[in-house]
Symmetry: C2
Subunit: 207 residues, 2 copies
Amino acid sequence: MKRIAESSVRRLSLYLRYLEDFERLGRATISSDELAQCGGTTSSQVRKDLSLFGSFGKRGLGYAVPDLATRLRAILGVGREWRVIIVGAGKIGTALAQYQGFRQHGFKLVGLFDVDPERIGQKWAGVTVRDMERFERDLRRLRPHIAVVTVPADAAQAVIDRVSNAGIKAVLNFAPAGVQARDDVTVRNVNMALELEVLSYALIHGA
Amino acid sequence: MKRIAESSVRRLSLYLRYLEDFERLGRATISSDELAQCGGTTSSQVRKDLSLFGSFGKRGLGYAVPDLATRLRAILGVGREWRVIIVGAGKIGTALAQYQGFRQHGFKLVGLFDVDPERIGQKWAGVTVRDMERFERDLRRLRPHIAVVTVPADAAQAVIDRVSNAGIKAVLNFAPAGVQARDDVTVRNVNMALELEVLSYALIHGA
């Protein structure tokens, strides 16, 4: 399968959200127009996105909802179980630990880590906060696929280095810092300050 | 000032993070190489980004740190006070309400809203959760610039419609839904499930 653009992956993920809604409603088929409307895009974009993975739809009949949902889940790796650790058990880290959406999407929290003695030993969503001192040792047993990093900015790079060295290939970084990682590690950055500054820029200079 | 790409705005925001670190360390100048290294980009990209706002650097001397920081703050609207409301006082909403980074960047939480009677009246970060029933009336007094939306997916569009109709021009949407807004409203989407699916896609298909 050829490498597709991240923007397409994001749209596929959105389409899947809606297909699952339609599945629950018992709908058998959906048109590219309907999917486009849900995803805030055009029907030709929908057809283009889905054609990257072969032609699923039937002209005039639309897409078979359960079939398309199953295929999108396989493409996106949904339905697999991904083992996730969270590094940083502060406000954002513990809110994410309790986030229902994680489990709903097959992301299983297997570990929580912090350096703060007051946080170590606390339990969130059934998972006990571990000491970063034992990080590498614990990871060999926890075998996580994904690390969610919610540490302060000045600690982020060191954590991401340790995560990468431990063999984790996917990182969701919430630390407000521009971190670097090896080419074989995918890092997604979620940066509140940055998102807010994009908004304030838009407010000043016109949307 | 011409409209610049969002990716440039995001990098400017990152450069500002580092300039502020250098300011605290008392550094007088910084080279485009150093800024590039911090931001995980190239020095020619740094010079290109900064040239969009006029030429700040001196050949061989680099950029004057306090001067460049001041200009970037003005460009990004940092240092202004932005009035922010959060709609949805669940786990993510209340974690954000307590998020220090908001205040540090001039984003002042002026209101929290929910529909759940158990949440209404609770106090987070000194702000009492208000009833959505009184949303439009309260907004006239609160006069927010930015709405952070942390409601469930199926409530998101209706909330964003009410927010837009109330005259708010900037929205940070955490609801896992593809929402639509009028052209004069800037919406930034932060979608955990989506970010995680981009990661799981990368894990399956290679980074």
